[in-house]
């Protein structure tokens, strides 16, 4: 599976976290193609979770889409993490709702918690945070919880 990805996308980085877990790091410009390939050619049909990581030391955000498969026999236990890194100063990435419709609320949560903008997302309003929240996105590392 890793070979199939690197053959089609020579620029992406493929890591093994452990058996049945694969991490594919692509550039923000390439991620939609990688996602479509993961869905259509490899059979990963649904979003399991979308996570953001604030790598403040290298001034980057990481967006990770964990995708799984229920329809491809033999791959029910496999998770591919499709990841991209974007500069912290101008965090804009493309939405992947068109690839995995289930990503809608996951991306909205990542948007409000990290301040990462998903270009093409139908709604960027607050989902979990209060409507009038006007502080920094709370899961950024430089946001300090009140009282800490």
């Amino acid at each position: 599976m890793a070979a199939a990805i690197t053959r089609n996308f020579p620029n992406v980085k493929v890591d093994y976290a452990r058996e049945r877990r694969l991490k594919v790091t692509a550039s923000p410009s390439e991620i939609r193609d990688v996602a479509l390939f993961t869905r259509d050619q490899l059979g990963f049909d649904h979003i399991s979770a979308v996570s953001g990581v604030d790598w403040i030391a290298s001034n980057e955000f990481e967006v990770v889409y964990f995708v799984g498969s229920v329809s491809k026999p033999g791959y029910e236990d496999f998770v591919i993490a499709v990841a991209e890194r974007v500069a912290r100063d101008d965090p804009v990435v493309l939405t992947l709702i068109a690839v995995w419709p289930g990503a809608e609320y996951h991306e909205r949560e990542t948007h409000e918690m990290f301040g990462i903008n998903f270009k093409g997302h139908p709604s960027n309003s607050h989902l979990i945070l209060p409507e009038d929240w006007n502080d920094m996105p709370p899961l950024r590392k430089d946001y300090v919880s009140p009282g800490r």
Partner: protein, 374 residues
């Protein structure tokens, strides 16, 4: 149901009215759904979660791996063992812990007991909204026998903080297996009665059959999980597909139904409880002797790395994305809860239906607002 304020009336049409369901109404949980109504007909809806957001993920970054145990189970106190299990698996994986066999069996027993405790609550509330008072009194009453059993093992009634990295907190008391097996035998008979009085009841069938039908394709594309996914004809369960702990030692089935309606989503829960009883019975009988936890010390050091651990909780796939930088605290702890994963299904089903069907669809999804908000 709270009526809309004047400003929420749609400006471009006096025919469509926007109404809030929740967040204060007990029938909505701590959760709000915006409904757009045309008379008695629901045109579309939009979920508005977040009223019980606690910031669990941010809290996780301030506490060390041991301190994280008790607060991480708060979002879903009905299913508290199942939300801790993937956390323990993630930490065990990064630390390379070899968890003792007896601890694996105890983890499974608590996870399955919690699945029954959670499903009984779900069926009770679902029965209540189907207009069936017996199911809520039986549901709430009978779940107490499982809480009693879990209390003997975990020492608390709701939040046990029992499953921890490296094993479980303590061994179960001697002689408990007999009591557990008795509870299993009794509950098997009880489930036959639920089937007769609730699931085969013509009134319940009339209210729930064909209501809120979710097709197999939509369920997969929207990322549905748990009972919602299995009621739509997908036989996917991580206990069988990605066996963790010692689930591959047991003989059990993965129930699934094809109709994808509210009735099927509730009935799958009953079928799952039958399998849970089977697993608990086998676990009590086959349990090996030995230690139940590794000594990790009060402040375990987790080597730098990242992992994605997932398990099958009562409502579906529970997952943790754990990133460690080698410090005593997690660098990032993302909790992926099944209710949040099923959120996309809600506006998909809550459209073009009658107002009277809203509670049956909403509660049929087994959505738990606190779990979704974290």
């Amino acid at each position: 149901m709270i009526l809309a304020t004047e400003s929420e009336f749609s400006p471009d049409s006096d025919r469509i009215m926007s109404v809030s369901l929740g967040p204060q109404h007990p029938g909505a949980g701590h959760f709000r759904i915006r409904l757009w109504l045309d008379g008695d007909y629901l045109v579309r809806s939009e979920p508005d979660p977040g009223y019980v957001h606690r910031g669990e993920e941010k809290m996780g970054e301030y506490r060390n791996y041991t301190q994280n145990v008790p607060h991480l189970e708060r979002p879903v106190i009905l299913d508290s063992s199942n939300i801790l299990l993937p956390y323990a698996l993630a930490v065990d994986e990064l630390m390379g812990n070899k968890v003792p066999d007896r601890a694996q069996y105890l983890r499974v027993i608590m996870a399955e007991a919690n699945r029954i405790i959670s499903h009984m609550y779900f069926l009770g509330i679902f029965g209540y909204f189907a207009g069936h008072t017996t199911m809520i009194t039986w549901g709430m009453g009978d779940r107490d026998f499982w809480i009693d059993l879990a209390e003997r093992i975990g020492g608390a009634r709701v939040t046990f903080a029992y499953i921890i990295p490296g094993g479980v907190r303590n061994d179960m008391p001697g002689g408990l297996a007999e009591k557990g097996l008795k509870t299993c035998d009794w509950f098997d008979k009880r489930m036959d009665e639920y089937e007769k009085i609730f699931f085969r009841n013509p009134l319940v069938l009339g209210r729930t059959e064909g209501v809120g039908v979710l097709s197999r394709e939509d369920a997969i594309a929207l990322g549905a999980t748990g009972t919602v996914l299995r009621a739509s004809g997908v036989k996917h369960d991580l206990r069988r597909d990605e066996p963790y702990c010692c689930y591959d030692d047991f003989d059990f089935e993965i129930p699934s139904l094809n109709s994808g309606d509210s009735w099927a989503r509730a009935y799958v829960a009953l079928l799952e409880m039958r399998e849970s009883v089977k697993i608990i019975r086998q676990a009590f009988k086959q349990m090996p002797a030995g230690p139940v936890r590794l000594k990790l010390g009060p402040q375990p050091r987790v080597p730098a790395g990242e992992t994605y651990a997932r398990t099958e909780a009562a409502r579906g796939e529970m997952s943790y994305h754990l990133v460690s930088d080698g410090s005593p605290r997690p660098y990032r702890l993302k909790i992926g809860t099944p209710s949040f994963k099923n959120l996309a299904v809600l506006p998909h089903l809550l459209r073009n239906v009658h107002v009277a069907d809203i509670p049956l669809i909403y509660w049929g999804l087994n959505y738990w607002p606190v779990e979704a908000d974290r």
